[in-house]
């Protein structure tokens, strides 16, 4: 299968996934990417900073997440910590609901394809 079909597919869900990671508590860029890759790397492919940073910037500009700059633990520099805003939580819930009905709908379309595949294999 051509890579671009998968890419388009994954693109739509990444924001929702990032919001859901931040819903679990305040976090920072490196941790977000590590957790994303640990739990979804096998299916989604390895997330890269070059893809994730712009999404975080967009989410912040749209008011779904907030960014707090705090001292970094190790080196005395600073680090950005992200968390959901009220709007972000509301949006995430709406996205989660939509995802449920969307995936059910898509599954209905795919059911005949799976059925036919099973019959061909038998």
């Amino acid at each position: 299968m051509e890579d671009r079909y998968l890419r388009q597919f994954k693109k739509g869900s990444l924001e929702m996934i990032l919001l859901s990671l931040m819903a679990q508590g305040e976090t920072y860029g490196y941790e977000i990417i590590t957790r994303l890759n640990e739990h979804g790397g096998g299916v989604m492919g390895m997330a890269r900073e070059g893809t994730i940073y712009p999404i975080l910037y967009r989410l912040e500009e749209n008011g779904l997440i907030r960014c707090r700059v705090a001292p970094a633990p190790a080196n005395g520099g600073s680090r950005k910590y992200y968390s959901l805003t009220d709007l972000g939580e509301k949006t995430l819930l709406e996205l989660a609901e939509f995802w449920e009905s969307y995936s059910r709908c898509v599954e209905e379309f795919l059911q005949p394809v799976r059925q036919r595949r099973k019959e061909e294999e038998l």
């Binding site: 890579d3 671009r4 890419r7 920072y28 860029g29 490196y30 941790e31 590590t34 890269r48 900073e49 070059g50 893809t51 940073y53 712009p54 999404i55 910037y57 970094a72 633990p73 190790a74 080196n75 520099g77 600073s78 680090r79 950005k80």
Partner: protein, 154 residues
């Protein structure tokens, strides 16, 4: 390694100053966070991928406004180039067709005409050609830049 990587990325980023600064800050923090978690700078750089690929991905996602500006300015310069060129062609045609003397800087319906005595150094026709050339070159540069920020390596 970190400094070298960040410098290489900075050279390739085509963003507003604000966006460039925040990308580079986050990049530096990625190196710091990776070190806290026991990674070497080489491992972190390998994970990030080649600096030009990293910058390209960022430009693709964040470079939207600049990209549109490049396209707009590029098209505008292209139109200017054509306008100057058309005016130059018309002027040349008018001169060749004898509508007015070659050194004239103006004309009138009647026999009255203003004729420059002596050589002004550079003719209006040459100025138009140079302006057309400059606008054309600028259009090409801007449109190539627009195309470059739109190219996706994946």
């Amino acid at each position: 390694m970190k400094e070298e990587y960040c410098r290489a990325v900075a050279r390739k980023l085509d963003l507003s100053r604000k966006d460039k600064q925040r990308v580079l800050e986050d990049l530096a923090d990625t190196f710091e966070a990776g070190r806290e978690h026991g990674q070497t700078e080489e491992q972190i750089a390998e994970h990030l991928g080649p600096p030009e690929d990293f910058a390209r991905e960022i430009n693709l996602q964040l470079g939207g406004k600049r990209k549109r500006l490049c396209l707009l300015l590029g098209c505008f310069c292209g139109v200017l180039c054509l306008a100057f060129a058309a005016t130059a062609v018309f002027l040349k045609g008018a001169m060749t067709g004898g509508l007015f003397p070659q050194d004239a800087i103006g004309g009138a319906v009647t026999v009255t005409a203003i004729e420059v005595v002596g050589n002004p150094g550079i003719s209006p026709l040459m100025i138009l050609v140079l302006l057309s050339l400059a606008a054309g070159i600028l259009a090409v540069i801007l449109l190539r830049r627009f195309k470059a920020t739109g190219r996706n390596k994946q």
